[in-house]
Assembly symmetry: C2
Homo-oligomer: 171 residues x 2
Amino acid sequence: MNKTIENPNDPFVPNYLLYLLAAASEAASARFHSHVRTRGLRVPEWRVMACLTDTDGSMVTELARYAMIEQSRLTKIIIQMDARGLVSRRSDPKDGRRVRVFLTPQGRTLADELVADARAHELELLKSFHGGDGTEIKDTLRALIRHLESDQSGQGDNTVSLARNAETADS
Amino acid sequence: MNKTIENPNDPFVPNYLLYLLAAASEAASARFHSHVRTRGLRVPEWRVMACLTDTDGSMVTELARYAMIEQSRLTKIIIQMDARGLVSRRSDPKDGRRVRVFLTPQGRTLADELVADARAHELELLKSFHGGDGTEIKDTLRALIRHLESDQSGQGDNTVSLARNAETADS
DNA sequence: CCAAGAAACATGAATTTTCATATAAATCTT
DNA sequence: AAGATTTATATGAAAATTCATGTTTCTTGG
């Protein structure tokens, strides 16, 4: 009934949406990420593998967006994974600029295994959390992402907060 | 009504809770983080500043937990911030091992400004998102974090998924 | 009080990440 | 069809991060 009241001497950080999102992400991922490392992968590599189970053969730029990894960084990660035999890189015959990334048989085995583990982990987490399947929280997060990625309510002139600066900060 | 049905050829990544959390965190933070860089700080430095507005004078280890930064990394960040005059480090008179970190006057000015910006940005985001104050999503995230940090439903024997490995993966 | 252990930070080397930019291949322009 | 642009990826140097471990300072049991 009075959750919206903001006490001026409440701490800022633990109530800040961006912190809560980051903290929730970290906390939710911690256990699985250490499982991933156990299997000999670093987190970004796991992300690449997971994405490739969905979109095998995508080009570097697509993969970078999908896996939320900056392009030049992804290039380096992929080169390493190629050297380890987890993925292979083939340049697109239709467009010589593009490099398409594929899981190798070995890579696919590991990827499938980890995706199965991820699904199991997710199921347990959701079950132990609210006893549900996560529809609610997932829908909320998807809606938030869509909202942010679309208009982002920030290009236009409806966003004021971040345009101004020190001049008005203490007024 | 049928959100819970999982189509086996649905993509994995975009429906995976850990991905949704990470993506939501990134998407929600992107704009503000670039504002932070505009003001001459990197994201981890902003986190330190924000935490210090809540708990000025906390020791390195506490700050590391609060800001979600690994200790040795935080030490290096703090040393840089000290050199830039944003914070000062004083060893605790009661316990010589401890280093307490304080905002300098200059640091506080910047921190207060950025926290104000963060609050404004958050308000706008929440208003434009669901027209609300974020109580719902925040409560959900807090609950998730609490759940994960407490029992983590994983030390005990109720967690099976990540203990097993390749042996059972394809059975 | 002393030795052993623990706690809090710092440090260094190896590795990653970032950022700007180079290279190369398509596409467009006229 | 040559030159200008744009797109896709790679590269290199500087900076940041990680991980293991070192150093210093407390704490505790005997």
